[in-house]
């Protein structure tokens, strides 16, 4: 990928992160790292967004919010899991209110490790996501609607995995 055809907009949601990754995502938008040079803007509206950046892991309260945001985003869409908590649960994976990484609930395209993920690696992850986005746009990939039924299946899977 040598150039960008579109200006991708991101939507950021803090699932159950400690804030560390969230403030690093915000730091990406500021003069030092400045992702706006790729045309990337942080939007608050899921219907304006191409890339869903999630930090932190799934818990009982935010399940529905993540599903809502994901389902409302137009196709093609890409999900970036930022930070080790979003990838696998991280240091909190054994907490009683943590069901695991974001991929237990919605399909994840790019994983950005780190605790907290550094701005450089977040930018790298988002640029990788741009490639995925372009691919999906060319192939007209449509994303699945994540429903409640799915999440129960995922939840069972998560419980099985923990044992």
């Amino acid at each position: 990928m040598t150039y960008l055809a579109k200006s991708p907009w991101i939507i950021h949601y803090d699932a159950s992160s400690c804030n560390g990754c969230d403030i690093e995502i915000l730091a990406c938008l500021t003069p030092m790292y400045d992702v706006e040079r790729f045309g990337i803007i942080n939007t608050g509206n899921p219907k304006h967004a191409d890339i869903f950046v999630v930090t932190g892991s799934i818990n009982e309260a935010n399940r529905e919010v993540i599903q809502n945001i994901y389902n409302q985003m137009p196709d093609p869409k890409v999900v970036v899991a930022v930070g080790i908590c979003a990838c696998s649960g991280g240091v909190f994976r054994e907490c009683y209110n943590i069901a695991g990484g974001i991929d237990k609930l919605i399909p994840v395209d790019v994983y950005v490790p780190g605790c907290a993920a550094r701005p450089e690696s977040i930018i790298d992850g988002i640029v990788t996501a741009l490639g995925v986005l372009e691919e999906k746009r060319k192939n007209r990939v449509s994303s699945p609607m994540v429903t409640d039924h799915d999440h129960k299946a995922h939840h069972k899977h998560a419980e099985g995995g923990a044992q």
Binding site: H12, Y13, D14, A15, S16, S17, C18, N19, G20, C21, D22, I23, E24, I25, L26, A27, T30, P31, M32, T43, G44, N45, P46, G56, S57, N59, A61, N62, V65, I69, V91, F92, E94, C95, Y96, N97, I98, C115, A116, R118
Partner: protein
């Protein structure tokens, strides 16, 4: 009487990087009631003390929140050290003080940026965060981490700062001071900012005290509580005065934070002058047996870590009372009677840190 409607604010809201949910009951444009809902970031990390040894748990305590990370780990290890009766080397105490003031600087600059953004002042947001990067550079150079430092341990700290680096840090802060002055001029004297802040969201001194406001939210209303005055770490040997404002409105809370940045720089300077030579850690044997309430002043106010051990490697109980949690009742009072358009600004003046509040 006009019809009441309920407008949800959050959990996913452009002005908040974190999920806080408020149900705003409106009568026309006026907020008449506020019902907060929390729990979106609850992880249940206090129960992990049963699975992690008390020395490993420092890392979990640090990850209660990514903004006040250093001070959380500091408060936790101070509690453990008190129970075990450890005399931590003086140099380590000074280093902890320096790093905790650096955290305060980075947190206040972060807040000033977000606050400006909530008023639509995008360029000030960018400028505040540009200055914050200098602070993070120093934190990274001395601890190895930008936002999660992992430098505190039971019995001391993991890294030392060389005298040359300390000089360089103080010189860097001095050089930054005039840029901070420029930034604070905007917050303290700019016409449009005053228009948004003066007389908005007033918390009286009585209310602040009765509802348990802490930190800048309390000090903005004239309640002079600053846990640093109890003299934990090296604060007992440093001369400083807590910043107190008396109006109790959004402007006062903002002014407290702006002025506290300069206090922090002053404290770091004093520490760099007074820091003694010596070791930075000590050998720790055994396990804590007993209980202790450990208190410290975070950028957002007083934090309390309750620690109980029974002489085994795993603690029995760890309980945290964070400043944002105690600042939610004052927030509800502040919001009643305000305009809907002022809600984001007022919510930000208590500097909500949901990661802390829900753990």
């Amino acid at each position: 009487m006009s019809k009441q409607i309920t407008v949800p604010f959050g959990p996913q809201h452009p002005v908040l990087p974190e999920p806080l949910h408020l149900d705003l009951v409106l009568e026309d444009e006026k907020v008449v009631d506020v019902i907060p809902t929390i729990g979106y970031v609850h992880r249940g990390l206090e129960k992990l003390v049963e699975k992690r040894e008390f020395t490993e748990y420092v890392f979990i305590a640090e990850r209660i929140c990514g903004i006040c990370s250093f001070i959380h780990s500091q408060t936790y290890v101070q509690g453990i050290e008190q129970i075990m009766g450890l005399e931590v080397p003086e140099r380590a105490q000074y280093l902890r003080t320096i790093w905790s003031e650096y955290s305060r600087l980075h947190s206040h600059l972060l807040w000033l940026g977000l606050f400006a953004d909530s008023m639509g002042f995008e360029s000030v947001f960018m400028n505040a965060w540009r200055l914050r990067e200098h602070i993070l550079d120093d934190l990274e150079a001395t601890t190895g981490g930008r936002v999660i430092q992992g430098v505190c341990k039971v019995g001391g700290v993991r890294r030392d700062i060389s005298p040359e680096k300390l000089d360089e840090m103080v010189r860097g802060l001095k050089g930054m001071e005039h840029e901070l002055q420029d930034l604070s001029k905007v917050f303290l004297h700019d016409n449009s900012i005053q228009h948004r802040l003066r007389g908005i969201g007033v918390l009286s001194k009585e209310d602040a005290y009765q509802l348990g406001a802490v930190g800048p939210s309390a000090r903005g209303s004239g309640v002079a509580i600053d846990i640093r005055e109890t003299g934990y770490a090296a604060f007992g040997k440093i001369n400083f005065k807590p910043v107190v404002e008396y109006e109790g409105d959004c402007y006062a809370r903002c002014a407290v934070r702006v002025k506290e940045m300069f206090t922090s720089i002053d404290i770091i300077e004093q520490c760099a002058k007074k820091i003694p030579d010596g070791p930075v850690d000590m050998k720790v044997t055994g396990a804590p047996d007993g209980e202790y309430f450990s208190r410290a002043e975070q950028p957002r106010g007083e934090v309390i870590h309750y620690i109980k051990g029974n002489g085994k490697k795993n603690l029995v109980r760890h309980r945290v009372r964070t400043p944002t949690f105690t600042n939610i009742p004052p927030l509800v009072t502040l919001l009643k009677g305000c305009d809907l358009a002022d809600v984001p600004v007022i919510v930000l003046t208590i500097d909500p840190c949901i990661g802390c509040a829900e753990r």
